[in-house]
Assembly symmetry: C2
Homo-oligomer: 210 residues x 2
């Protein structure tokens, strides 16, 4: 993937998991080859958009023959790091943390849940989906022992910044942040904020204005 | 708000809940007035971006005086329909449905949870955060009796399309969809897809490419 290091726009990056999702479905349904037109209709994009998006990574299509589904699926896995895999922890074993821990599909996408951390003695020692809940005191040792790339933060808003700073100091490279707070961290740390309340409010705006 | 019906871009719409969030914090902290420069630094946007965004709705700033926090907060509430309120149900009382039902902050944003629906007899009759879980058979009557604008879908992927079609037939105007499936519904129905797995995969791409 010689072209992979060129700057890819955020809009394209955000669409990559959708390609992965649709290609994974096509593969499961036994589809071997698909035209950019047919793929575009499935995905609700234009064919030229798809060609442009994939050209950021070297193309993969053959003029007149469309895309080889398995090949493109495997390339998408590499591009998204699914083949590499990411050691993952959840901090905060409340409802949302539990829901995420039970969401088995993350493994198929390369996110291997190694541990869950919480401060609540009532849940420490329990397991969710086979993964143990550890006390926060063990977080530092755990991150040093295991190779942890990604921390999923489902802690209360008021402690989010503190916890984020701490895990960054332990070498975590990416934070999936569910608290309604935009984190400011060093440039080498990647943050994806999931502001659930922001998302439902967009719905309300659109209902009012449709 | 004479200008409110003009076409506002998706990028601006997506930022509106963030304005609401920051203004709500400023108001709670007793801030009465804020310049577009200070607000932009807090929000990580440029001052001209903020002026442009707000100009879609009529402006609200006074040259040299900045924004009146309470006034702008109240306008944002109107723009997002927080003052109007949206009758809301959750369909699917699994972990994610429960996490959302426990997320009390949705009420402060205008989303009033009226009922939760599931097919599992083990949970029907239980309450989450004071809201009862009803059997799916009661959904039709419930939607006719209560005024339901928004349905939050946390059902398994394979039944999502069928459930979505059904609730649209019952007059629901907006769907907040958590299944990893892009819904295709009539134009007058608003859908916000929350593809959690897509979001974590963006994180992995960025970790690999930083």
């Amino acid at each position: 993937m010689a072209l992979q290091n060129k700057k890819v726009s955020d809009a394209v990056i955000k669409r990559l998991p959708r390609y992965f999702r649709y290609l994974s479905d096509l593969k499961e349904n036994g589809v071997l080859r698909i035209s950019s037109k047919a793929l575009s209709e499935k995905m609700g994009l234009t064919a030229s958009q798809i060609r442009q998006d994939l050209s950021c990574f070297g193309g993969f299509g053959q003029q007149g023959y469309g895309y080889n589904v398995e090949l493109l699926y495997n390339e998408m896995k590499k591009i998204l790091g699914v083949d590499r895999g990411f050691g993952t922890i959840i901090i905060g074993a409340g409802n949302l943390g539990q829901a995420i821990a039970n969401h088995a599909k993350f493994e198929a996408r390369g996110y291997f849940l190694k541990g869950i951390f919480d401060v609540n003695p009532d849940v420490i020692g329990d397991s969710i989906n086979g993964i143990e809940i550890y006390p926060m005191e063990e977080l530092e040792g755990f991150c040093k022992r295991e190779s942890i790339d990604v921390a999923i933060l489902t802690v209360p808003r008021e402690v989010t910044a503190k916890v984020a700073d701490f895990i960054v100091s332990l070498g975590v490279k990416g934070i999936w942040n569910f608290s309604a707070m935009d984190l400011r961290l060093p440039d080498e740390v990647v943050v994806e904020n999931v502001h659930l309340s922001d998302s439902i409010m967009v719905l309300g705006y659109k209902i009012k204005n449709i």
